[in-house]
Symmetry: C2
Subunit: 345 residues, 2 copies
């Protein structure tokens, strides 16, 4: 049987198509009795509004596009992050009867801007969620802005006043992690900074300092060292720190990969984690639960962030109010790599 149209429903319910439209779109000005009659007809005919027709007539597509960096096969570690973003974005979309289009792209390509403009002009999404690191590339952001499409930037660490964006409380939560380590009795807490180009991790170092300060501990860079976000650099930093005459009793790394490197070196040096050394990371990548001991870290609430981003796009609020940055808080994930400081010095 051919799909029922709004006309069929109108005929069956003995009303005009406009009334059916009102019922379908939950508009006011329909008498309760009429509404019921229409709803009965809809159910009977198993009517579903045709999206293409709705889009054409209403000039909006109920479509959100999620744009993110396309992981090449060899950096599929980011897969978990992407899936979580998608899950969050989908949750918000579906709850508002929107659909989500995904658009991974290579952000090094010169033409990403043109590519996105073409996409936008064809499918006319009602909004774009732009994930980091693309959200930090002005060329790309501007290309999207030219199309007049609402955009929300997803940038875990960084804020930006010109458009709506969603970020985490990186700094605050890193302070919390530091306080947690102090509460376990640690006093010599080292911090491994990330690659300076990676904006998100700058705040983490500040958070580490905040945490020390809040506990009344002196801030010094004696135990601060810089890695490049890789496991290998974590190993190198750990080797340097742990071979000192006065090694730290806890090492807090600006990301999980480096923390994993620390654990690996500790294992090699036969330093027991967490009995002799506490290790904490940041990001809660899949690896964090797979290594031994399971890594204490900070969860990046990517799903919640993407959810919030879509909400900002869909809600009328997002269209009218002045740009703001929504903050979605991360949470501590205390696992097995942290414990009381040895000997309570």
């Amino acid at each position: 049987m051919p799909k029922a149209t709004i006309d069929d429903v109108a005929t069956l319910a003995d009303v005009s198509i406009k009334t059916v439209s009102r019922v379908v779109n939950r508009e006011p000005n329909v008498r309760e009795a009429t509404r019921e009659k229409v709803e009965k007809a809809i159910a009977k005919l198993n009517y579903r509004p045709n999206k293409a027709a709705q889009n054409l007539a209403s000039h909006h597509s109920r479509l959100i596009v999620l744009v993110y960096d396309d992981p090449s096969a060899y950096e599929i570690p980011s897969a978990g992050f992407i899936i979580r973003m998608q899950q969050g974005a989908l949750r918000a979309c579906w709850s508002a009867n929107y659909e989500l289009l995904i658009h991974p792209c290579r952000y090094r390509n010169k033409d990403v801007g043109e590519e996105l403009k073409a996409l936008i002009e064809q499918v006319r999404p009602d909004g774009i969620v732009l994930a980091a690191p693309l959200s930090n590339v002005n060329r790309i952001v501007n290309a999207i802005l030219e199309t007049q499409t609402p955009i929300v930037r997803l940038s875990p660490g960084k804020q930006n006043g010109k458009q709506f964006s969603v970020a985490t409380n990186d700094r605050e939560i890193c302070a919390e992690m530091t306080r947690y380590l102090v509460s376990l009795g640690h006093r010599r807490i080292a911090f491994i900074k990330g690659h300076p180009d990676h904006k998100a991790v700058g705040n983490r170092y500040l958070g580490y300092q905040d945490g020390l300060k809040q506990c009344g501990l002196p801030i010094s860079d004696e135990f601060v060292i810089e890695g490049d976000n890789s496991i290998l650099s974590g190993e190198a930093c750990a080797a340097e720190l742990l071979n000192r005459p006065q090694p730290p009793s806890a090492i807090f790394a600006a990301n999980d990969d480096m923390a994993a490197g620390v654990i690996r070196v500790a294992d090699r040096l036969e330093i027991k984690v967490p009995e002799q050394l506490s290790v904490a990371g940041c990001d809660d990548i899949a690896l964090a639960q797979q290594i031994y001991p399971a890594l204490t870290t900070i969860n990046q609430p990517l799903a919640a962030m993407a959810d919030e981003a879509v909400r900002l796009l869909i809600n009328p609020e997002g269209k009218t109010k002045t740009p703001r940055t929504a903050i979605v808080p991360g949470t501590l994930r205390v696992r097995d790599s942290t414990g009381p400081a040895p000997g309570q010095l």
Copy 2:
């Protein structure tokens, strides 16, 4: 400026809108000079056809929906698989100017069928790619079929004659892995079977037997043992095999998790991999590259499979010919966990 429409282009090029339509859709029967004139106008106005209007008028949406099982947060290991499927599906979609809608869903839900029907009737995709394990649930497949939407099932191991589907050459490639182990001098090659409910892995056992046969080795179940696909079961099976008076010199597991379990046990028993024991897995999950030594395994060509699935939906071939199963071959990924048999017995 308001977006240009087909009328604007027609006016500027001084032709009818039908001619513009012909040029846009690369239809024949346009004189070269006319085509150029129109293309110039299109470029000048930066015209892009409105998808909603195209969809409404043409009764097709240039939209493919990829349906797969939604990983809960705690089984994100599957994230890599999903991303690869998406990448493959997107590649095929974009190359034909289609878009991809993703639709993860919980396949245990009773209402998945209804959910999918509602989705399909609203967005009217031109086709559905249904990934395993959903593709093996008749209730779900039938719900989709009721909507008359073309569907291609993605089921790595299993074939099914009633609809189009895409599978891998599990059996053949497992035979190849077995032959590879034999070529390294191994004669006592154990096989750890997977959970019998998991259809994909049955073929792997057959492939193992084929491989032995092809090398002229006797087939016996002396070295065949059954796990349940988990790392833990891999450990248990390995413990049993390696504690025998005559242990195998190579262990081939029906999936990577179990193979990882084998390596873990070997490490515990101080059996060197690959010097004393070769270990091979199947699936090429992310873990395969992360463990030490890196696991020799079989790549599941999920991206290529999804790509092929979308092609089947988009190409006219898919709509007319009789259902068939396309086979996308997997490939051996030789890494560090396999080597020459010790002592050449």
